[in-house]
């Protein structure tokens, strides 16, 4: 047995112990459904499926992962908010699409931030702005200069907040960007590598190309620097007080009984602490596990609502 496997076994045993205590107090009647707010095949799906698998092994509960795509999690959370709060369904979503919709359509979604009991977070997606290595600039100021010199600069983005952040940069600097809307980070990368976009947004797909020196990082779009690029400053650090901070979080319907909430929080924490989940999340997201706990998750969302409001100029 290798050291890593031994450690993994220990971690699993420890997880079993913690969850075992929780289980003594509360267990789901029947199945525990872990709903995933996105379709099969994306990073949220991967996180959800591995967490469900490990939770099932650790707790002995029958944990079922189920995709509930629609509106980046809005459809799923609307369903959860209207469920009886019996702890039988936990939702996994990403904060950004939820916050964007709450800011733009308050009162229309059938839920708000008060509709849920928060259980924890899985990780943060490290979103950055990247350009091809041969681009004649290294930071946002240089990109602005390039755009001014060439009339306009095409940027590839795949989510509204990215575009809005750059529109604020555009308004403040007077440079012009052309916004190429795409279906995801991989397509952004294709446009940047192919030279059709001068810069694009990436959250993980790009790392081999960063390593090989084919692309370079212009800015971190989060409000923190990225663990793999501690020398590249964030957009706020480069003089534009705006950021995009996607976080994967777990929530259940508001009013879930105390014992169920505690048991679910602990079971999730134990699963997130396992070697298997850590490895899978690190491999697929390139970000470490970051569990903010129930209070931290709620604070993250409430602060995020203010930030996203600013992004949309509301």
């Amino acid at each position: 047995m290798t050291l890593r496997k031994t450690l993994a076994a220990f971690a699993a045993a420890a997880g079993l112990f913690v969850a075992g205590v929780a289980q003594a107090e509360w267990a789901p009647k029947g199945n525990l459904t872990l709903q995933i707010g996105f379709g099969a095949g994306g990073s949220t799906d991967t996180i959800g499926r591995v967490v469900a698998k490990v939770m099932k092994e650790q707790t002995g509960w029958n944990v079922i992962a189920e995709n509930k795509p629609g509106g980046g999690g809005v459809a799923m959370f609307a369903g959860i908010a209207n469920r009886p709060a019996d702890g039988s369904v936990v939702g996994l979503g990403v904060n950004m699409p939820i916050l964007v919709n709450l800011v733009n359509k308050p009162g229309e979604l059938g839920f708000d931030l008060d509709s849920f009991d928060y259980l924890g977070t899985a990780a943060r997606a490290q979103l950055g702005l990247f350009a091809r290595a041969d681009a004649p600039f290294d930071d946002v100021a240089g990109l602005i200069e390039y755009a001014k010199a060439n009339g306009a600069a095409p940027l590839a983005f795949d989510a509204k907040p990215q575009e809005l952040a750059m529109r604020q940069v555009m308004a403040k600097s007077g440079a012009e960007f052309q916004f190429l809307s795409t279906k995801g980070g991989a397509e952004n990368l294709k446009l940047v590598l192919g030279g059709q976009a001068i810069a694009g947004f990436e959250a993980g797909e790009h790392l081999p190309f960063l390593e090989s020196g084919e692309i370079k990082m212009i800015a971190s779009m989060n409000n923190t620097r990225h663990n793999y690029a501690p020398d590249t400053p964030t957009l706020p650090e480069q003089g534009y007080d705006i950021y995009v901070d996607p976080v994967f979080f777990f929530a259940a319907a508001k009013g879930t009984p105390e014992d169920a909430r505690m048991a679910l929080t602990e079971a999730l924490a134990a699963a997130l602490d396992s070697e298997e989940v850590k490895t899978v999340v690190m491999n697929s997201l390139k970000s470490p596990i970051e569990n903010m706990g129930p209070e931290g998750t709620e604070k993250m969302l409430r602060d995020g609502l203010v930030n996203v409001g600013a992004l949309f100029g509301k």
């Binding site: 990073s43 509930k68 795509p69 629609g70 509106g71 990368l189 190309f209 490895t279 697929s284």
Partner: protein
């Protein structure tokens, strides 16, 4: 290019008994779920991924590749035998496969589908193994404007399938594009035509629309035609001559150009992310019909029709791996699922994959070739099984197929909402066929619509209000000109055909 020893070691790994076993298991599973109407290979791969967490990387990935390849072969089976394609890429196969099966030659029809599927698949695998690097560079050069040109060309070619009435063809395209517009507008990020249903925010669920229109409406129609006497779903004549049960070498060889054209179309479209196998199958089918000396035989059980569709949709799979392995860009949902399986094992596709993981990559290539052989073998056995299954009485077959469609759609699209959408579109298809409006054309427009719109929106952003900038994209102009020529040629052909009638 890695050293020969690495390549040989990789192929050797693929031959390890455990890997062979999992490829066999994957292919068999894929063929089975592909053949059951409603549950496609994509759903099967998604469900299979957690099982690969604990496997060795090559075993896990070879298993998933097996599921995918098996699913491609399996998908043609319900399309041919019941006229109920479980996935839209098999819809083109049903156009000629089902008429042939109805003539009492179900084994011949399914065998032709199997052989041409594996031919197309093998062709694109060889392209992948030998020239993936230059193909990837070509794919990168295809920017938004070029993709727009290609989409226009695809629409022009597929317009050849519209049927006799131009007006009804245009109605079908317009309805398909309108259904494709449901969901978030790519340009402004605001929801369109969702009427307060956030489930529709990402667009109509593809599986619901495809299965509703292609499978459910057909099953309902057939169930409604059942009158008192219980017939088998398909009749196998006793003592059928061998020629009607199998595909002779002469028949196979006679389709070589059709299959080659299909494989080339599938490989090109597959190397470009996001266009997909449905477009490839229909483009190949439409161009095979245009190139044919007897276009009137299409739609009546032509072997060429089956060969065109199956060789194209299967060759997309291998070609999807080109941008995936070299650039880390998935060309389809299945490829995205396989990428996530790679990443779970800590392997990221991209520029270093061939140098750092050469042995694994060549192991994967070996596994793909082995999977093709196993596909052929399992397919030969499986076809007999499925033909026997559907010779059961109609009510049993249709009722169980209906049930499987409900289960499959519920799994793929997140529950009852997806089923509701499926039933609405089944009804729409029923009404459309009653009025003679082509359901198939609707489906193609619906599947290509989002890609057309997004490449149009990207092109407009790049042109920045100056149409003369189009001159900077010569290759795109060539494609657009080709689209125009195709459309004009089709229109003239339509005129001469109607004069002779």
């Amino acid at each position: 290019m890695p050293e020969l020893s690495v390549i040989l070691a990789g192929f050797g790994d693929a031959l390890a008994p455990i890997n062979l076993l999992f490829i066999l298991f994957g292919v068999a599973l894929g063929q089975f779920v592909g053949a059951v109407p409603g549950i496609g290979p994509v759903m099967a791969t998604a469900i299979a991924i957690p099982f690969t967490f604990g496997m060795d990387p090559l075993t896990g990935i070879a298993f998933l590749v097996g599921v995918n390849k098996g699913g491609l072969v399996g998908g043609a089976i319900p399309a041919v035998l019941l006229n109920t394609p479980g996935t839209p890429d098999a819809a083109a196969t049903a156009l000629d496969g089902y008429p042939l099966a109805k003539q009492g030659k179900p084994l011949k029809a399914t065998k032709m589908a199997l052989f041409s599927s594996i031919t197309g698949d093998t062709f694109s695998d060889i392209v992948l193994i030998t020239v993936s690097a230059p193909m990837a560079i070509l794919a990168l050069r295809m920017g938004p404007v070029e993709v727009l040109g290609l989409m226009l060309l695809a629409f022009a070619v597929i317009a050849g399938l519209m049927g006799q009435s131009l007006v009804k063809g245009v109605v079908a395209i317009a309805l398909g594009l309108m259904a494709a517009m449901v969901g978030t507008d790519p340009e402004h990020g605001s929801p369109r035509l969702i009427f307060g249903n956030y489930e529709l925010y990402d667009g109509l669920p593809l599986a619901s629309v495809a299965i509703g229109m292609l499978a459910i409406s057909e099953l309902l129609k057939r169930l409604s035609e059942t009158r008192g006497t219980v017939r088998p779903a398909i009749t196998l004549p006793r003592n059928q001559p061998r020629a009607d049960r199998s595909v002779s070498w002469a028949e196979y060889w006679g389709c070589r150009f059709t299959m080659l054209r299909g494989a080339v179309i599938g490989t090109i479209l597959g190397a470009l992310p996001g266009i997909g196998s449905t477009a490839a199958a229909f483009m190949s089918y439409a161009s095979a019909r245009q190139a044919s000396k007897e276009p009137e035989s299409f739609g009546k059980g032509s072997l060429h029709g089956i060969a065109a569709s199956e060789s194209a949709n299967s060759s997309v799979m291998g070609a999807n791996m080109i941008p995936m392995l070299t650039l880390g860009i998935p060309g389809s949902v299945s490829a995205a699922l396989i990428i996530s399986a790679f990443m779970i094992h800590g392997i990221q596709p991209g520029p270093f994959l061939f140098s750092q993981q050469g042995q694994l990559v060549y192991g994967l290539f070996g596994a793909m070739i082995i999977a093709n052989l196993i596909n052929l073998w399992v397919g030969q056995l499986g076809l007999r099984f499925w033909v026997r299954v559907v010779s059961a009485p109609e009510p049993f077959i249709f009722a169980s197929a209906l049930l499987m469609c409900f289960v499959g759609v519920a799994l793929a699209s997140g529950g009852l909402f997806g089923i509701g959408v499926m039933l609405v579109f089944a009804l729409l298809a029923y009404v459309m066929s009653a009025f003679g409006i082509s359901v198939v054309v609707f489906i193609i427009a619906f599947f290509l619509g989002p890609r057309l719109e997004i490449s149009l929106s990207q092109t407009l952003a790049l042109l920045n209000g100056q149409p003369q900038k189009l001159l900077d994209y010569p290759f795109a102009l060539v494609l657009m000109a080709l689209a125009l020529v195709t459309a004009v040629a089709l229109a003239r052909r339509r005129d001469t055909e109607s004069e002779t009638r």
